[in-house]
Symmetry: C2
Subunit: 351 residues, 2 copies
């Protein structure tokens, strides 16, 4: 059995009886039943994923996958392509948004070059797993080969495996890739059957003319490549991206190793969506960090049945929303572990 099939075969549904037992622990805490709302949901699901009534959440890691996109030639982004590599170095130096927010919640950021169109030379701490130097322009043919898409998924699975071996408790996804809202919109258009116009937005902040070019590029990319919506890897290869594939792999690998994944915004959710199309059970291991400003994001979340944790009009990506949401999931786990019970505190229960 190949590595991808083997990973898929190891993903198990969560045990509802463990979830009930965790809720019972929460119900003994000194508070009205259910009054910590979604924090209780986070704690319950986190414990169920980790297969324990007494889960701890200490080691938090965000993987930020970086790659370039041939489709930027079509004028779909507000930023030039070299910003992808410039931002990779900014991540390594600790100066980007995701670095600041990860520090704030006590998470580590790991940057993976999975397909940047640039040779970095020796950059300590950059994880080099370049599958190829960016995708091809999908308006003229497939973004990448099917074998390359699978290879990029395996990079993500490898990251999850490494993290699991180190004892990481929770993973977050992030990405950098100028132009990558374009393949993300293309993916959800193909999978949902909605028109590109209905799922395409302004990315880093493009004007009306660029938005029309972007919708047109996606429309042409789907027409020329005819990706098969029932074959997620075909969709990923033909109109996707390398960092999106890496994120899909991270979700699959993490679910196989029973590590929850906090999925950042629009592009990360495109990756998570490829994973859940390959194995619907994966969604039980995912937390949607936030509701992005991108209009296609809600369509993705609805398809996956995930409710976002935050709604702060974020549209930066990188893993910034994942960092913030991780802090809230950890808050839920701390409630489970640290709050006194009615008995411990000598507090009367409800009438």
């Amino acid at each position: 059995m190949d590595r991808l099939a083997e990973t898929l075969s190891r993903i198990e549904p969560l045990d509802p009886s463990l979830s009930d037992a965790l809720q019972k622990r929460l119900d003994n805490k000194t508070k009205p039943l259910g009054s910590l709302g979604r924090l209780e949901e986070f704690a319950r699901r986190y414990g169920t994923i980790r297969k324990t009534l007494e889960p701890t959440l200490a080691k938090k890691v965000i993987y930020t996958f970086a790659a370039d996109h041939g489709v930027v030639e079509e004028g779909v982004s507000a930023f030039p392509k070299e910003v992808t590599r410039q931002m990779v170095l900014n991540f390594i130096d600790g100066g980007a948004g995701v670095n600041v927010l990860a520090r704030h919640v006590g998470a580590e950021v790991r940057v993976v070059d999975i397909g940047v169109d640039y040779y970095f030379g020796l950059v300590p701490t950059l994880i080099t797993r370049k599958v190829r130097r960016g995708t091809d322009n999908f308006t003229r043919g497939p973004a990448m080969g099917r074998d390359e898409a699978i290879e990029a998924i395996l990079v993500g699975i490898g990251c999850a495996d490494e993290a699991a071996d180190e004892g990481v408790d929770i993973l977050g996804t992030g990405e950098m890739g100028i132009g990558n809202t374009t393949p993300s919109s293309a993916i959800i258009a193909v999978l949902s059957g909605l028109s590109p116009r209905e799922v395409t937005h302004r990315g880093t902040g493009i004007d009306d003319a660029a938005l029309l070019r972007k919708i047109d590029a996606i429309t042409r990319g789907i027409e020329i490549n005819r990706p098969d919506p029932s074959d997620p890897i075909d969709v990923l290869a033909k109109v996707g991206g390398l960092e999106i594939a890496g994120i899909a792999g991270l979700c699959l690998g993490a679910a196989a190793r029973r590590i929850p994944v906090v999925v950042d915004g629009f592009i990360s959710t495109a990756g998570a969506l490829i994973a859940t199309e390959l194995s619907p059970t994966v969604k039980e291991y995912l937390f949607a960090a936030h509701r992005s400003v991108e209009i296609g994001h809600q369509v993705m979340l609805d398809r996956m049945g995930l409710a976002p944790i935050l709604d702060l009009s974020l549209r930066l990506g990188e893993g910034t929303g994942a960092a913030l949401a991780m802090g809230l999931i950890e808050a839920g786990v701390r409630v489970l572990n640290e709050m006194a019970t009615f008995e411990q505190a000598g507090v009367s229960e409800g009438l």
Copy 2:
């Protein structure tokens, strides 16, 4: 001039030019313009309140005011009245929800007995500022005297002053008082002119019969007391509560000393609303922590023009939501202080 009038006279509107200058600093950071959404709003407003282009946010304190309510005689709560004092001791021991969440974000919890119907004796770390031992049952007459309402507001102002003198950077509000969603609903019913039914919900989790009793108690309380909606202190005295008054005072005192206040959920917002009715400028100093499950909460937030930071179906109070939201405001301030600029990172700006 008396202390309340003097505090009100010191509350200044924020300077929009400072807000613009802070946004300019944010716009130089390595991210698309505005892409950190509300985190940028938090940083901008925090800096404007603190009157500096380089704000720091280190010392965070949540004041949790505790008091009892005569109206619990009417069967409006799912918990017996002694839970107020039991929970005060739980706060002091560090076992309650607010303790856990405040620790999580690095905030200190200070518990103020502003009107618990119990003599605690010597409890180190409990701040004793008891105005009276609980309110009277407002279905039979005013909850308290006007002088007592003002005294309780001054307790809150005093807390804000102490915090300001110590160099606290941000304050949160919290409360404990079995029955206190009832006066909170009464306050917003009077101020908004809506019927009690439209702004009254299940508090700690009452059943349908208790909900009807609660709506009836509020209706009778308003009828017998006829609070004057144009006189916020009259409303507070007649159908309010001592902890609500303390929170109103904390908001006023903090605004006078240019300290932002993170207002927790429904009951805290009732207190903040009394403050903004006394001085509309106060709202510029407030952050609404979250959208409570209580149906009257949105009516309050709309009246104050505040958009909640979180929406996690919380309904515990104590300051739990304020703690979580403080962490997000701090995240925004860290973005302002720690992110690299385009120039520092050598990243190209938008096309």
